[in-house]
């Protein structure tokens, strides 16, 4: 019988089950995206190596339970043939979650594309004190819960008001969730400090008086769930490009590697060292 090392297997996305020699095989599914033609083949793989079903994970992923450890090489080979690969468990950068982004009527950024870029660059990166989860959500509705990730990214809209186009219809006043827009004495007043960048005013305006200038990204750090839930803190606001976000992630992972204690989630590292110190030393962008 082949010996197996559970730690190594975890690194490759194989999670030990209670049942002897059986593992649940985690796949690398980014942002819950899977091609239609991969599905029947995946069904076939789950029948051949598992029990003919898959489990959908809380992070938009797929696991194939009941796979014998003797079949690891074979199942991986079959997965690679259909453009899928095994995922990651243990203290490393995990599968990236992402919403449907641009195609959603609220979406402000291409969350799927950014999710893929993050995955390409950081997926499976080890040498970390604990696991590290990244999620991308397309707008402040935050369906993909940026504050529950070690690092969460949220799409925002920055806008300009074109007074000459406004017909004072009040729709933006009604839709604004934070009361940043008011109409007084036949004039629109906008309090930029209250704006959360959701873009609802842009979407609703019949006269295009609210014009989107650009999309932006805010970055949250130190969120986690589990036994001791902890919501992330907003560390950076209105970052202007996806490239800059990738740079922040890289610096953050380096910071976590250097300052995090073994077994400590990033939330605890941030609490211990302080958000401001992280922003200065880790993000290095303020």
């Amino acid at each position: 019988m082949t010996e197996y090392n559970t730690r190594e297997l975890k690194a490759a996305g194989f999670m030990k089950q209670k049942e002897k020699d059986l593992f649940s095989v985690r796949l690398r599914v980014v942002g819950g995206y899977i091609e239609a033609e991969q599905l029947p083949k995946l069904a076939e793989i789950s029948r051949r190596f598992g029990k003919g079903y898959v489990h959908l994970t809380a992070r938009q992923g797929i696991e194939i339970p009941f796979v014998n450890f003797n079949e690891f090489e074979k199942i991986r080979e079959e997965l690679l043939k259909i453009g899928l690969d095994v995922g990651a468990c243990g203290p490393r950068d995990r599968t990236v979650t992402a919403c449907q982004g641009e195609i959603c009527s609220h979406g402000l950024i291409n969350a799927q594309e950014l999710g893929k870029k993050i995955d390409e660059k950081f997926f499976g990166q080890g040498g970390l004190p604990h696991k590290f989860k990244i999620g991308v959500t397309g707008c402040p509705n935050a369906c993909l819960k940026p504050v529950e990730n070690d690092l969460g990214i949220m799409g925002l809209a920055e806008k300009d008001f074109r007074e000459d186009r406004c017909n004072l219809c009040q729709l933006c006043v009604e839709v604004c969730p934070v009361g940043a827009i008011e109409i007084r004495e036949d004039k629109l007043h906008y309090d930029r400090s209250k704006c959360i960048g959701c873009g609802d005013c842009i979407f609703v305006c019949p006269e295009e008086a609210w014009e989107k200038r650009r999309s932006g990204y805010s970055v949250y750090v130190g969120g986690k769930m589990g036994k001791f839930p902890h919501l992330g803190h907003k560390a950076f606001d209105f970052i202007e490009s996806g490239e800059k976000v990738l740079e922040i992630i890289e610096k953050t992972l380096d910071f976590y590697k250097a300052k995090g204690k073994k077994g400590e989630r990033f939330a605890e590292t941030i609490d211990r060292i302080g958000l401001e110190n992280y922003r200065k030393e880790g993000g290095g962008l303020v």
Binding site: Q170, L171, E174, D200, F203, V204
Partner: protein
């Protein structure tokens, strides 16, 4: 703004999302391009959701008028 006459009217007060959206959509489908539909909508969720969906579907909102507790919206079919 000058008074705009509507070709059709639909009262969606008390009709919840997404039924109000569907009813409005069906009504507009019966109408000809360029005709005007007057829609009455409740405050709150309906006014937040329906007008943006109207815009996304390529129609034009001509006028929004707030009456006690509800809205009168004039939509030109696109």
């Amino acid at each position: 703004m000058n008074e705009i006459n509507s070709d059709e009217r639909i009262d969606l007060c008390g009709v919840v999302c997404p039924n109000n959206f569907v009813k409005k959509k069906l009504k507009l489908e019966e109408m000809k391009q360029g005709q005007v539909l007057q829609v009455s909508l409740d405050d709150g969720e309906p006014i937040r959701n329906v007008p943006r969906a109207v815009k996304e579907e390529g129609h034009k909102i001509l006028k929004v008028e707030k009456v006690a507790g509800f809205y009168k919206i004039l939509i030109k079919k696109g």
